[in-house]
Every structure is written in structure tokens, then in C-alpha cells.
Symmetry: C2
Subunit: 349 residues, 2 copies
């Protein structure tokens, strides 16, 4: 079978690594049988795990890396002294063309810093953004930036809109995604200057996707748009409030079903449907945050996830490679010719 | 019975006004029998409603106002030409000392603009902030600013911390509230400059409440602190994402219980406990957003709420009057002597 590509895995990143990484790769290999796998990390730990992973047989290469970056390491320190780490070497494999994507459950700040340092941004993109997706009333919605850029200008938000829309096309399989800007109201005069300026550019310019306008938090969860664009500060807070509220509601529900004998009986009857609901909002299903806007596919897995969650993060990377995410990004950036826009703000679209 | 105070009600504000306002006042009068009520609005509409409100008998004064401010009116227009409106006259009653608090379900922007214009901020407070509270895993948490101030400096966040803590003491009945700053991480170096500067002042200064440090969205819903402080942009987005996620979860739950016959039977047994859960997260229970930081108590009700919801907004105002919110604010501001701190840099609105 001809390989569709190679995915590099930072085998040492995450609380349950390398076991969660190798078992996750084995699970992902069932859904993506045409991929090959580059496992980077401590060979003596990885090799026995791979022997127990039947679906990886004949499709895996192990690259030894002598150390790994701690979760507590500052990004600046990781950047100076992390060259021999599993994370660095896995990203390097993408840069060298030996892999088409990298997945890591390690230190987020270090992963971003090293990815930016090694891979750089393609022409037309000033900064990478973190994008992920979550369930809404109408399906699934992608959101970015989730924390890479605390402060953003209008140009960055416009670039994020393109990155997010291409992501929605590649990973969520939506041919014509709609894009909204996260704001405190939907009227034109609402919000910060940079958001209003970005809205104007998305409305007037040659933006190749459907721009919906501003969206509020309540519309995000209702699924009013397929892609929600925000600065990294508000985006991170929005995501974590949604996560926290889901956890809270689950807690309330659990308490409610313990409140009386009739409620307990009700739980017994509803057990299967409640398990399906739990599965529907299981955060492991939505694991895999993409560092979009780099010359290469970089996916961050939650550090605390298990093999099932890690396999889903790998799935995001595999979808992006299969759907030609990088080629699409380059094409859209060329089409819009933003570099001239952002270099000389006086030039009109 | 000696009156504890007068609460002015904008009888014309809200989708179901004046009926929801008069019926809401009647319901609130049961919990707060020692208050008197000043109903401001169209006398010909209010008078017959009051006759059907037995608990208001002998405790109500009607002040005729010839018009009301539309929900679509721009705040600047309302400020220029709204003097004869029910909203303006109700706020004016607080300024004149004829009432100790005002509650309105009308146009939010107009209510803020007119309140600021008439009541002004007490010494030590530069800007009012919108504060409200919602359920968490450990009880109830207050949050501010929820949208009045899109951009905030460190001084404003510190002032919000005091306003929020006094609110938690007055309305939530917490003698020693803990305060956290909403951020994208809990480590010292995380977030924007103004947030880090505010944290330093709250840690070092004479802040009379317990400062917890930074909190993320997931900690907010877990109830890690009693008061969450944020700029109005992120605060508004955080609140609406939480509201939207609660609605989404309810939607998922409803779908789940329709999914099979066993689930429907389970629903029948669990009906009562699920109704209690719905009641626990009923937004009408948490109705009543306070414009804190003015010389007077101003409470905004949701425009779409009913009499039950409006009564809860009145309850927030009555709690604040009974607990001496304004006196506490003045005392805390004097104690901290902030005016000297904030007087130097001219902060633009």
C-alpha cells in the first residue's frame, strides 16, 4: 500500500507517555491505514510498546531522542537548550520533509516556540494561531485563536479567518464554512477598534469564505457559524468557560440523579442514553488543537489524555495531511496577496 | 411598619412592561414587606395593574412619565432627549433622595449613560462596572465587568475588585469573599500587562479582601473564588459562553431523553429531579445586573424576563439597600485612598 504520508509523534510528551502515544498511534492506524509513523523518544521505552501494537507493524520508525522537555520548562529555555529533545526532533522531521505532520502532548509554550522557530510562517501569515473545534447545537464549530496571541491587530484576525476556514474545510469537512468574529454584540458599532476594522476587511475584501459578521457567546454554542475568530485572550477564556460550564452541568446532573429513589430508578432506565450524551460531549473526542499558520502541520494533544484522546489528535493531523491543508493555505494566501496589504497598510483592497 | 427605603421602578422598561414590573413588585413585596415602591411611567396603564396587586396596597406611589426610551435608541440620543422618559425620571428619584435604588428592564446602553450622567461615580471610582452572579459547583459567584468597559487599565480592575467584593458581601451574603482576576493561565507571567499590574496591586496594596490570584474559565465555574474580575470585553464573552453552553447542554439532554423508549421511561421517573435542576440553573433566578460604582443603586433586569425574573432583580436592589452597599463602597474607597493613585494619569473613556 502506498503511504499517504508520515506523521511524527513526540513519544515522550504527555502525562501517560510513551504508552498513550504508542497505543494512540495503534488506534489511529486502524482509521488511517495508509500512513506511516515516526516515533521520536527514548528507544528503550518505545520499542517494547511497539511490539505490542499490531497495527503499527511494518509502518513505524523509531528515532531515538535522549531527553524530553518538562511541562514546567519555560519556552525560552526550551528554545535555547531543547535541541536534543523528542519534541524538537519530531518538529525537525517535518521541516526536513521526513514527516508531513507532528503531534505532541508536551509543554504547549515550548511546542509553539520551537515550532515557530523551526517551521516559520508561510508568506501572508504573520503569526500562528491555535485552532480547535467543539460540539454545538448544529454540529461542530472551529474556534481560533485559543491562546497563542494575547493581543491581535485587525490583520491578524483576518489571517485567522482564512486559517480557520481552511481548517473547517479540511478537518470538519465543510465545503463552504461561514466565519464570525467573536464580539460583545452583533451591531456594527460594538467592540474594539481592531475587531471592527477586521470586520470591514472581511466584508469588503476578497475574502473567499462567507463572512457572517459578529457573533456573541450564546450564538457560538448555538452553532450560528462554522468558524469563530477571536484574539487569543478572549478565545482562551471563551473555550475554558464553555468547558467549565459543561463540567458544572454534568456535576449538577449527577447530583440530581442521586437526589431521590425515583430519580435513581429514572437513571437506571436512562443510563444508556446518558452514556451516549457523555460520549457526545467527551473532551477526548475534541482533542487535538492545531497550531495553524506554520510551514507544516503541528497538533497539540492535551497532556492528560489517554490513548483514545491521543488517537483523535492524530486523526486531526491525518485529516489535515490528507486534505492538503498546507497547499490550501498557500493558495488562499497567494490569492489574497496579503503580504502587500500588511506591509503597506495604505494600499486598499 | 417603618419603611426601610423606597425602590424606584422604571415601569415601562422591558418586553412585558408594565405588567411584569407591577406583578414583579407585588412578588418582591412579599419578601421585602418593609420597602415602599415608586412606579414611574404611564399612569393610565399602571393604575389598574396596581389595583390588582394586593401586596403593594398603601406602599406605592405612581409618578407619571409621558414617554419611554425604545430598545433601539442610541445611548447618546437617549441622553440628549430622554429627560421626560420613565427611565430618566426613575434614576432622577435616586439622585433626589426620593428612592434608594432603581430597577429597569429597559435599554441597557441608555440606562448606563443616563445613570452615569445623573448619579456620577463616588470618589475613588473612575467608571461603573456591570456585576452579576451565577451558579457554580460551590455556590454562587459574582463577576464583573460584564460589558460596560471594553478596555480597562490596572486601576479600573483594582476598583472592580472592591466593587465586586462589596457586592458579594451585600447580595450573596459572604462575609469574607475571595477575589480572582480572569486570565488565560494562573502563572504570574500570564496575560496582559494591565492584568499583571492589577494583580501586583491587589497582592501588595491595602486591598481589604482575600486576593486569590489569577483564575481560568474552568476554575470560575468550579467556584474557585467568590468574585471574578475582568475587563468588560472578556467578561461579557465569558458570561455569554457560559449561558450558551448551559442552553446547549439542556438541548442535548432533551434530545437524549427522546432518543428511546427506555429513556422516556427514565424521564418519567426523574421528572421531578430534572425540574429541580432546571430551576437551579433558571436564568430568571440570576436576573438583576448591578451597575456598581455609581452614587446610587442601579439594577438592570433582562428585558425579556417575566414577573418572577423581575422580582429577583428587585431583590438584588433591596439586598443592596438593606445591607448598606453604598456606605460600604464609600468606606472602602476612603480607606484605600485611591483617588491620589488614579488622579495622575488621565484615563480616556
Amino acid at each position: 500500500m502506498a503511504s499517504k504520508g508520515v506523521i511524527a509523534l513526540d513519544a515522550m510528551g504527555g502525562d501517560h507517555a510513551p504508552a498513550s502515544v504508542v497505543h494512540g498511534a495503534n488506534a489511529a492506524a486502524e482509521r488511517f491505514p495508509e500512513f506511516r509513523w515516526l516515533l521520536v523518544g527514548d528507544e528503550s521505552l518505545i520499542t517494547p510498546l511497539v511490539k505490542d501494537a499490531p497495527l503499527l507493524a511494518g509502518k513505524v520508525e523509531i528515532q531515538h531522542a535522549s531527553n524530553c522537555i518538562a511541562d514546567t520548562e519555560r519556552p525560552s529555555v526550551a528554545l535555547r537548550s531543547g535541541r536534543s529533545s523528542s519534541m524538537w526532533q519530531a518538529i525537525q522531521a517535518v521541516h526536513d520533509g521526513r514527516a508531513q505532520a507532528v503531534v505532541s502532548g508536551g509543554n504547549t509554550g515550548a511546542l509553539m516556540a520551537i515550532s515557530r522557530h523551526i517551521l516559520r510562517c508561510p508568506p501572508g501569515i504573520d503569526r500562528p494561531a491555535i485552532v480547535s473545534f467543539f460540539p454545538t447545537a448544529r454540529g461542530e464549530t472551529a474556534m481560533l485563536d485559543l491562546g497563542a496571541n494575547i493581543d491581535c491587530q485587525a490583520d491578524h484576525l483576518v489571517q485567522f479567518a482564512v486559517l480557520g476556514a481552511v481548517f473547517a474545510r479540511s478537518v470538519l469537512g465543510l465545503p463552504n464554512p461561514t466565519v464570525g468574529l467573536l464580539n460583545v454584540g452583533v451591531e456594527d458599532m460594538k467592540g474594539r477598534d481592531e475587531i471592527r476594522a477586521a470586520a470591514q476587511r472581511l466584508r469588503e475584501g476578497s475574502f473567499p469564505f462567507a463572512f457572517h459578521g459578529f457573533v456573541e457567546g450564546t450564538e457560538v454554542t448555538a452553532g450560528a457559524v462554522d468558524v469563530v475568530v477571536s484574539d487569543g485572550f478572549s478565545g482562551n477564556i471563551a473555550l475554558k468557560m464553555a468547558e467549565g460550564t459543561a463540567v458544572l452541568y454534568t456535576h449538577f446532573l449527577r447530583e440530581a440523579f442521586k437526589a431521590s429513589w425515583t430519580a435513581r430508578i429514572g437513571y437506571l432506565f436512562a443510563r444508556r442514553t446518558l452514556a451516549q450524551l457523555r460520549n457526545r460531549v467527551d473532551p477526548r473526542r475534541y482533542n487535538g488543537a492545531v497550531f495553524a499558520g506554520l510551514n507544516g502541520v503541528v497538533v497539540k494533544s492535551h497532556g492528560s489524555t489517554d490513548a483514545y484522546g491521543f488517537a483523535n489528535a492524530i486523526g486531526v493531523a491525518a485529516d489535515m495531511v490528507q486534505q492538503g491543508f498546507m497547499d490550501e493555505i498557500r493558495k488562499e494566501c497567494e490569492r489574497l496577496n496579503w503580504k502587500s496589504d500588511t506591509a503597506q497598510p495604505a494600499v486598499s483592497a
